[in-house]
Amino acid sequence: MEFKKKKLANDLVVIGEINKSAKSAAVGFFVKTGSRDERIEINGVSHFLEHMIFKGTERLSAFEVNEAFDKTGAQFNAFTSEENTVFYAAVLPEYLAEVSRLWIELMRPALRAEDFDIEKNVIKEEIAMYKDLPSYYVMERCKSLHFDNHPCGHSVLGSEESIGNLTSEQMRGYFVNRYSPNNMILAFAGNFNWEQVCSVAEKGCNKWQKQDVHRKLEGCNGSKKRQRLEKSNLVREHICLMSPSVCAQDPMRFAASLLAVIVGDDVGSRFFWELVDKALAEAATMQFGAMDGTGTFCSYIHCSSENVSKVLETVRGIFDSLSENGITEDELQKAKNKILSALVIKNELPMGRLTDVGFNWIYLNQYRRIEDDINSIRAVTVDDVNSIIEQFNPGNFTQLSIGPVQTN
């Protein structure tokens, strides 16, 4: 593996990790923008803009864009979160330059009004789709309750109302500032020729104008509020618990991710043995979400209405025991083994490697080899994990549940 980096005159950073033995290559633009960067009246614009990028440029229609991607056989897509918008493609090495040229061209989209109007319908369909996915819906609502007025609580999709009112002019204004070359990176991984992709990047991106672009970073302890919503078509209780954690830049993030595996991995965790193995809940997981300047522990459980009290009592017992006794050496070792093997398997694919290399640069401004992450995970001690428990007390959480209408 060989790492390469180049900064263009307009501050666009191009990075790449070359693996000559890979059979494919991956390319991605990581744009440092998401729902936390939106004013509430344009909530959902980052995600909508992600869709509009595919609608083409002054030169290419939406259909021509799709055709151009499909011609290369690329596995391509994009996603938007609270703080990042990522466009990526995995492709056979001989098509990498072509796909990269295409992404570069698309990063300066036409944002045509007629495309905007049709795509607005698709966004509204996506909002409706997630309403029918309680696992997603409960987390989105809990995030909003936990972050309260903090911008990380903004919905990624926006609401029917905010999307309905959004204009293409508002989107254009947002785009010009947020898709500035100094607010994004272009990353490559896998089997590719660095000189070739660099020249493609220079030629395509050097005219992009740099902007003055900022993100407000504030910590968040969480509201610790409790709320239950009812939906007549649901049959199970969906429960989300959220509490604060370390941020993506914090060296303790490895200890936080190990704690999440110990408490809430889908098998073999404390949640698993106490809730799922005993058939109190069908699913119970906890995840660590590292974000820019803040972080969360987020648990998701679904169970029958009858089991809710027992489940919450058990969860209370698990968190109390963590606060009182901490974790064991044996638990930590097992969690390390799981995370290390997942890391190795994920990074065998150029697409998996692209996301790690890209996000490390976005959050840390740093290249980290897989071995660096492996060593950091190996070095975590029981005391490190216990100090996270002590500092953040994950048992003191915001709670949102959604379930069927209660008759009594």
């Binding site: 995995a90 056979l92 078509n233 073999g268 097992k334 093997s341 398997i345």
Partner: protein, 411 residues
């Protein structure tokens, strides 16, 4: 890319397959046990899901907790699924831990404790999973679709039926394990970094018996109704649609795959273009090839708000039927490049290769090499695909919807 396939057959008929991958340090393995939903006796629908959980609740000299801890200690990522024909269990892990993992899996398959009190928990979880399906209409619509499309019992739900799960006993389920965990029809597949000689030796030690016993083949019965609607006051109507096509053993298989790719291979394919890009009817729209050994179909999903649902279904059906009218040169080229590219990208993942070679062997009795598949895709032409589509037009569509409103079906 190495095109090597390792193969060994035990005296009892159990097949051992391997595909080495040079650039990885992981390995993935699967055991395909002939105990899938369609092979479960009538009246026990869902027993597969219970068994896939129960066998992990203690095996050999380890109780449930000790076994779970031992698996976790190896850092392995479990693979577990119940299909129509098989229960597939296995794992992806660092290759250094492979031998230890195989010892544990041999205990799980051959020496599971199958204790009564653990059975109750496994069964309760299986019942809860079926209930929870009502909160996931997207998954439910596709399960119901397969149930309705394939002649019974081939499409039987792997999750099961609540009434039958409630009636299931530990004794009955234990008997199913005894009858169906048949080594003669078990396939073991490994991909990634491994030493095949060592694997064969270990598998022989663990699984060799002198006994060969074939299971009775599944006898497909009749097909269910053409259209079923499940009422749900959700935000969308979830549409599942399926129509018959050729199986992987058919000489037209690659023509069928290319045709599906023209329909829904990428974002420039017809369904995405007509349903989402031109009309904004859906966010999610996708058709894909789906096959069992006995039958195959093209399966399509769309989720859309109630007021757009009828138009969505009408446009989808129109696109299926329009396919045989003509395909242009660019379309077929994109479809072929797309299929070949997916093939190569998937070949980089040890889990996907282990599943792939095992599946191939079951379906075809042999494993196709990457080059063979690429060549066969390459050999398809507009004429061959159109010839196939015209000689076997889409006749019947099986349709399932879940949502606030029913649709008019006049196809």
């Amino acid at each position: 890319m190495s095109e090597r396939l390792d193969k060994h057959i035990l005296k009892n008929g159990m097949v051992v397959l391997g595909e080495p991958m040079e650039s990885v340090s992981s390995a993935a393995f699967v055991f395909m046990l002939p105990c899938g939903a369609a092979r479960i006796p009538d009246g026990c629908c869902g027993a597969g899901a219970v068994i896939a959980d129960w066998i992990f609740r203690g095996a050999g000299d380890k109780n449930s907790r000790e076994l779970g801890d031992a698996l976790d200690g190896l850092g392995l990522h479990r693979i577990s699924s119940v299909g129509s024909s098989h229960i597939t269990i296995g794992a992806a892990l660092e290759s250094g831990n492979l031998a230890q993992a195989l010892d544990l899996y041999a205990d799980i398959i051959l020496k599971s404790r199958l204790q009564e009190e653990q059975f109750e928990l496994a069964r309760q979880l299986a019942i809860d999973e079926v209930k929870a399906l009502d909160d996931d209409p997207r998954q439910k619509v596709m399960l119901k679709l397969q149930e309705q499309f394939y002649p019974s019992p081939l499409g039987r739900s792997s999750l099961g039926e609540i009434a039958e799960l409630k009636a299931l006993t530990a004794e009955r389920t234990k008997q199913i394990v005894k009858d169906k965990f048949n080594l003669t029809e078990t396939i073991f597949a490994v991909a990634g970094k491994y030493d095949f000689d060592a694997i064969v030796k270990q598998i022989e030690n663990l699984f060799e018996t002198n006994q060969q016993k074939q299971l009775k083949p599944v006898r497909p019965g009749s097909k269910a109704d053409k259209y079923t609607h499940f009422h749900n006051e959700g935000a969308q109507v979830h549409i599942g649609l399926m129509t018959e096509t050729v199986k992987p053993t058919d000489e037209d298989y690659y023509n069928a795959r290319v045709a599906v790719s023209v329909l829904s291979g990428g974002m420039s394919a017809r369904l995405f273009t007509e349903v989402r890009e031109k009309r904004g009817l859906c966010y999610a729209i996708k058709a894909q090839y789906h096959s069992l050994k006995e039958a195959a179909g093209i399966m399509c999903y769309a989720g859309t708000t109630p007021e757009k649902s009828q138009e969505t279904l009408d446009v989808i059906i129109r696109e299926f039927n329009r396919l045989s009218e003509g395909i242009n040169k660019e379309e077929i080229e994109r479809a072929k490049v797309g299929l070949k590219s997916v093939l190569v990208l998937q070949s980089e993942s040890s889990s996907s290769r282990a599943g792939g070679i095992g599946g191939d062997y079951y379906m075809l009795g042999r494993v196709r090499g990457l080059d063979e598949i690429k060549n066969r895709i390459e050999q398809t032409t507009i004429d061959s695909v159109l010839g196939f589509l015209r000689s076997s037009r889409f006749k019947d569509f099986t349709i399932v919807t879940i949502g606030p409103n029913k649709l008019a079906i006049d196809y």
